[in-house]
């Protein structure tokens, strides 16, 4: 294959992503508790946010189409939606691999997993809608309106829903600096039972031994597969001391607050790999990965837009794109 003028940037992109893959495996340090499997974050997170950027771009072109009625804008909207869907599938697969390592299952209907599946179905319906209308002008108009509504749901499904859900196992708090997860409060005299992730927990007792305060908590794993008693503790300075591991998972239970007189506690689930971006090597590779996958998305978008534009020129109105 002969190289052409203008291929320089593309070859640079190829080498850039190859370097990201190399550094992801051999330069970035292992994440505490996750081992080598945690390296998938370097790909998973950039791919996930570029998904949202692609869907936003698609919606913008749909708005432009409805305004100017230029088929080229519709073509651009389709190309961006296709790239977004491709990245969304990739984010789902990489997330699922991560889930298998950390949660012990590829799919457990966690709010984050469910919301990304709903998003995929919404965009699958967009393509189904396009192929179901024969009249090209009507198809473009309907698809553009639908695409705008789809893009409105996207931030809720990708960013809001998983964060407001108390029961998500997705490690927002662990991996996104500045994110805040408060955990849940339980009381011996009030609400004794709560849920952390998809684990049901029951507050049994609170004992103060010397400077340490121990809470005894019974945990029931999803499907009642495992029932265990964990005893996290708090030291005299109010900092978490013992952080027992949930049975069969690499998440730990952490006692954040305890009031022995009132019989109340606040507990949370802590993911391994917390503050991983504070490591400079990880941070730089992560940023390089973001740039690389963004450029790749743009390239894919450009190729697909050209193909659709050619189809449109050859057979205007006859191809269901």
């Amino acid at each position: 294959m002969a190289l052409r003028k203008g291929d320089g940037l593309k070859i640079f992109l190829g080498l850039w992503i190859a370097a990201v893959i190399y550094t992801m495996f051999l330069v970035v340090p292992q994440y505490v508790g996750l081992g080598d499997a945690g390296r998938i974050i370097i790909v998973h997170v950039p791919v996930a946010w570029i998904t949202s950027a692609a869907f936003c771009l698609s919606a913008i072109y749909s708005i432009i189409y409805l305004w100017k009625r230029n088929p080229a804008s519709d073509v651009a909207a389709v190309a961006a939606a296709e790239v977004g869907t491709l990245y969304c599938i990739f984010a789902t697969i990489t997330g699922s691999i991560f889930a298998e390592v950390v949660w012990g299952t590829f799919w457990n209907w966690d709010p984050r997993e469910t919301s990304i599946l709903v998003l995929l179905l919404i965009y699958a319906a967009y393509f189904a809608l396009r192929s179901s209308v024969d009249d090209s002008e009507r198809r473009r108009r309907l698809a553009a309106v639908y695409n705008i509504f789809a893009a409105v749901t996207m931030p809720f499904l990708l960013f809001v829903a998983p964060r407001v859900a108390d029961s998500t196992l997705h490690p927002n708090c662990a991996f996104l600096q500045g994110s805040k997860c408060d955990g849940i409060s339980l009381s011996l005299t009030g609400a004794k039972i709560g849920q952390l992730g998809d684990v049901v927990i029951e507050f049994k007792s609170l004992v103060k031994t010397g400077t340490l305060t121990h809470a005894t908590i019974e945990v029931r794993m999803p499907g009642m597969k495992n029932i265990a008693t964990l005893v996290p503790s708090l030291d005299g300075d109010g900092k978490p001391a013992d952080r027992p591991e949930f049975p069969g998972q690499q998440f730990r239970m952490v006692l954040l607050e305890a009031d022995a007189t009132a019989g109340t506690i606040r507990v949370n689930m802590q993911a391994p790999g917390t503050n991983l971006l504070s490591n400079p090597r990880t941070l730089w590779v992560f940023l390089a990965s973001n740039l690389g996958f963004l450029a790749l998305a743009f390239w894919l978008y450009k190729i697909r837009r050209t193909i659709l534009q050619v189809q449109l020129t050859l057979t205007p109105g006859e191809i269901n794109i």
Partner: protein, 66 residues
């Protein structure tokens, strides 16, 4: 016996696999990119050649010139 799933080797195997897949995807994309550029260019050339103004002639019934 050392296998590809041993802890010390597995990470190199995973990296090599990811790199091979990426190289394959990259050259496939580059090829598609070239092909689409060619088609788009040829189409533009054909469109611009068909857009050229057709020769014009005026036919009248005026025989005074004969």
């Amino acid at each position: 016996m050392t296998t590809i799933l041993d802890a010390g080797v597995a990470i190199y195997v995973a990296m090599s696999t990811a790199l091979i897949v990426w190289v394959g995807v990259f050259f496939y994309l580059l090829r598609i990119d070239h092909a689409t550029q060619d088609v788009a260019r040829q189409l533009n050339e054909r469109t611009s050649s068909t857009d050229a103004p057709a020769p014009r002639a005026t036919i009248t019934n005026d025989r005074s010139a004969e």
